[in-house]
Assembly symmetry: C2
Homo-oligomer: 355 residues x 2
Amino acid sequence: MTTVAIVGAGLMGTATAYPLSDNGHNVRLVGTHLDRDIITSCRSRRIHPRLNRQLPASVRPFFVEEIGEALEGVDVIVSGVNSLGAHWIGDAIGPHVRPGQMIIAITKGLEATPSGDLIILPDVLRNTLPENVRDRVAIAAVGGPCIAGELAGRRPSCVTFGCRDFDAACKLAAIFHTTYYHIFPTADLVGIEYCAALKNAYTLAVGMAQGILEKAGGVDETGAHMFNLAAATFGQACTEIEQLLNLVGGSRQFAAGLPGAGDLYVTSMGGRTVRLGRLLGLGHSIDEALQIMAGETLESVYVIRQLGQALPGLTRQGLLAPGALPLMEALIDIIVAEQPAKIPLDAFFGGAWLT
Amino acid sequence: MTTVAIVGAGLMGTATAYPLSDNGHNVRLVGTHLDRDIITSCRSRRIHPRLNRQLPASVRPFFVEEIGEALEGVDVIVSGVNSLGAHWIGDAIGPHVRPGQMIIAITKGLEATPSGDLIILPDVLRNTLPENVRDRVAIAAVGGPCIAGELAGRRPSCVTFGCRDFDAACKLAAIFHTTYYHIFPTADLVGIEYCAALKNAYTLAVGMAQGILEKAGGVDETGAHMFNLAAATFGQACTEIEQLLNLVGGSRQFAAGLPGAGDLYVTSMGGRTVRLGRLLGLGHSIDEALQIMAGETLESVYVIRQLGQALPGLTRQGLLAPGALPLMEALIDIIVAEQPAKIPLDAFFGGAWLT
């Protein structure tokens, strides 16, 4: 039996409590300062109000002030915050982390340094831990398609756990793995984090097709949608993910696998990113769309901004050919340069295709 | 101005008449013996009854008996029949084909020889043409995500034209290309045909998730679907497409591109293959499901049967590792061995992942 603390009581962090609990582990669920209402509900009613589901019996909820008690003697810490909390989490758990522990992050994102390098968020977390422990803990991350409500509902799900220390990835997989939660370990942490971040960015483009359709008058009298447009965008997205994986030394086969195409598929099935894409496709500027969706965490926008900072440098250094990522460039134009939404179909598949 | 004959007046064949007509070409639309009602309607009312849309003015409809007249002096022949018509089309056009013409097929499929080799359908067509012309015409095929009703509705679509004679692929692209029909030429005819055939097979598996969900009681009280299951299946499908492309010397990058992930996405958005998959997921045997869908052309079943004939030989010859294609093997179990539907999640991503 293992003791696991989940820090961050949002949808995905909390969802991991279900397989852990079903495996007989002790689970401590620590809310952040944003999760106060959630922890209050979990304590008083044993209901997670956003998952809208009863907590498993082995889960003990903690407020953020109790984090020291919650992390006491744990074997595994789950970082359950979103990409905006990537710095906070290191500071919050730092004083309590002990050598030999394993940390696994559900956080998906990339962060551009002032020099334009892109850093994966598990490394951001690592760099904020105290120096005397940061190299003595294994830091892993989850990739692949996993809607939290389905995992908490014990619906079949496949994910990958990535850790540069492959043995740690396997140990973590053994702790979390259930008959409904299938886990594939990999040493390619960088590859799965790039996929996890990029799929948010590219889903925004796939979602734009719905808005473009509605702006053009919607489904026509013969029933024609714009699925062809969405599909071309989906294919170009996977192609660009493959190129970016190649650039950073990640496994190219992830693009046509679970962390790439699989996760892009599930993210495109609905949710915040698709709704934001629809607003852009309808003709709203990014400023208008963000006002309409005020209060929602939009990791797609965050990731595209980071890529907007990094791409010019990568192109200047000759690591990326000019025009190699036309869809990402279009997204940066829309999000950073506040241009109207446009999907540059004629620029797709150029380099890779004209054989 | 070019003169183009489309043989086969189904949805997709006829849809290609719209960009051709918009480009100012003469178009002759020849129905097969199955298309008699369609041609009658096209002649009397200028309406294609399945597309439910008016024919462009430059399109002349012909009955199958008039095929000689229709093919007289044409520059390009579009093979618009489905995979079941792959032998018929060669016999039908054979006597009228002239050296220097170009043929482009929308037919998607693979055919197993008695020895277990898989042949792409453009080569089946080639082999049924008279010997004195078969090597003196360019034979091309269309790949990529393209719902016929959207193309006919002049909605934005991206496809690829493949031909071993790359110049011919480029010439054909120049003839068909419009502001809404984006065409990427490639010399990798084999790669795009494998993708086009395989996406039908694998969409059947993605569609099964919906039936499995309904059988398990449907969307639960918290709103949980089984998108994670569909997404894992989608990712594994792209992975297996990549492995099969590698096996036959096709472009691996098609898996994470327009002909692979892109076409799988659009096919998974609905239609016959998804409906058949749902029936299997609900627990119907393939025999029951085929009875329920009697009268519909199910290319997915045809392709899976062909692979069922070919895979044992490929494994015996050492070209495929045992267990390399667990999802395809599951589909063969369901379709050929008439087993209950099952998605073998634990076998996914095995070989490629444990790095």
